[in-house]
Symmetry: C2
Subunit: 207 residues, 2 copies
DNA sequence: GTTGACATACCAACTGGTTGGTATGTTGCA
DNA sequence: TGCAACATACCAACCAGTTGGTATGTCAAC
């Protein structure tokens, strides 16, 4: 969901990646519709010709930005150290703790491109909406294994692992909205702590 | 958050209210930036002169739409029958049940104007962002009394009433995003059921 | 190892339509 | 007759997208 701080990642030299990173930055701060192609090019330090060489349309850039976002976030979470914890309950809570740790600074540095874009696209662009869905649902799918194992270990059968994984994404996305509403990082973190308490209670852990 | 179905509410005859209702409809479906003044006027059945007679700018319409939204939703929830329940725990859960009951049909019929608009406005329009914040935080404030009473009755002192009230709004807002991501009303309702389970556990109730 | 055919990556200038906003009426009621 | 509530006509700026071009490569034929 958030873009990980990758301090040693080289800045892109080709126009396509420069545009995708500019898109992530501007969409997070202003949204998709309010970001013009000219602004995108200026932010990326690239001309309009380069834009339409790499992307058929502004909508195509939107799809590519969502895909780019998916790829960077899923790669980041796949490498996170909480996967190495033995107890599946620890892994589930470890994911939440990681999400909490990632929330800091200005809202546009930890908010989600897919969640932001889908609000504007869900009725106006089926392709962008599908790419956003893929991003967030992909995140949820990566959790299902650990959640299912944790539920089984604790002999809980009331909510399903799928339902819980999606609920986790719900709280994360809701936290971003509340942060934008003025609560900032503190508000988003606080809601994740409620989610953590809920999961801990469900999975037989004290908070 | 959602616009209540008020079947016997007379359709507005003046241009100002027609524009505000058109704004609620279009912003919910397409967002603020992607909705042009011309589209607003067409949807309202009103001319551009009327628009700029009643609103100084498009931004001013945005602020007025958020205020209009605040007024209709807070009036609706103030009249809801769950307030008459004796037990404060029942009133808290009654609010959640009402929110669940209100979620049905297409996403743009139950989603939140303030939550949608703030995503586009939080960095580009301080006045719109403030109006959106007022709307959602106003909703949260209306819950604090019941939550505080329920926490006290159950001798719970870990999360504060304020924090819980805001968390409730977080899950509601997150549910709207997940619904737009393709989950529809079912997804939003499912997350509110998780929230209900959390509150029930906190407040000493079985689910 | 030079040449020609082709592809990729990019650029500056332009276009037609749309944007938010204005200037100037008209109407109907107090 | 004065004023609020509208309507009509218009504008400059900006919008997404197109154009015709250049610079730089790749690669096979000779």
């Amino acid at each position: 969901m958030m873009i990980p701080n990758q301090p040693f990642r080289a800045p892109p030299t080709n126009a396509r990646e420069k545009l995708l990173e500019a898109a992530v930055r501007l969409i997070r701060a202003r949204g998709f519709a309010a970001t013009s192609v000219d602004q995108l090019c200026a932010e990326a330090g690239v001309t309009k010709g380069a834009f339409f060489h790499h992307f058929r349309s502004k909508e195509a850039l939107g799809v590519a930005a969502a895909d780019y976002w998916s790829a960077s976030t899923s790669a980041f979470f796949a490498l996170a150290p909480y996967h190495r914890l033995e107890d599946p309950v620890d892994r589930v809570l470890g994911y939440i703790d990681l999400r909490i740790a990632l929330i800091s600074g200005p809202v546009e540095s930890f908010s989600c491109v897919a969640g932001t874009m889908v609000q504007e696209a869900f009725r106006t662009s089926a392709v962008i909406a599908a790419a956003c869905r893929e991003s967030v649902y992909g995140n949820a799918k990566a959790l299902i294994g650990d959640i299912a194992a944790a539920l089984e270990q604790q002999a809980v059968n009331e909510p399903t692992a799928e339902s819980l994984a999606l609920h986790i994404q719900t709280v994360i996305q809701g936290g971003f909205i509340m942060a934008k509403l003025g609560g900032g990082a503190d508000m988003a973190r606080d809601s994740l702590l409620h989610l953590r308490r809920y999961l801990a209670m469900l999975l037989g852990r004290g908070f």
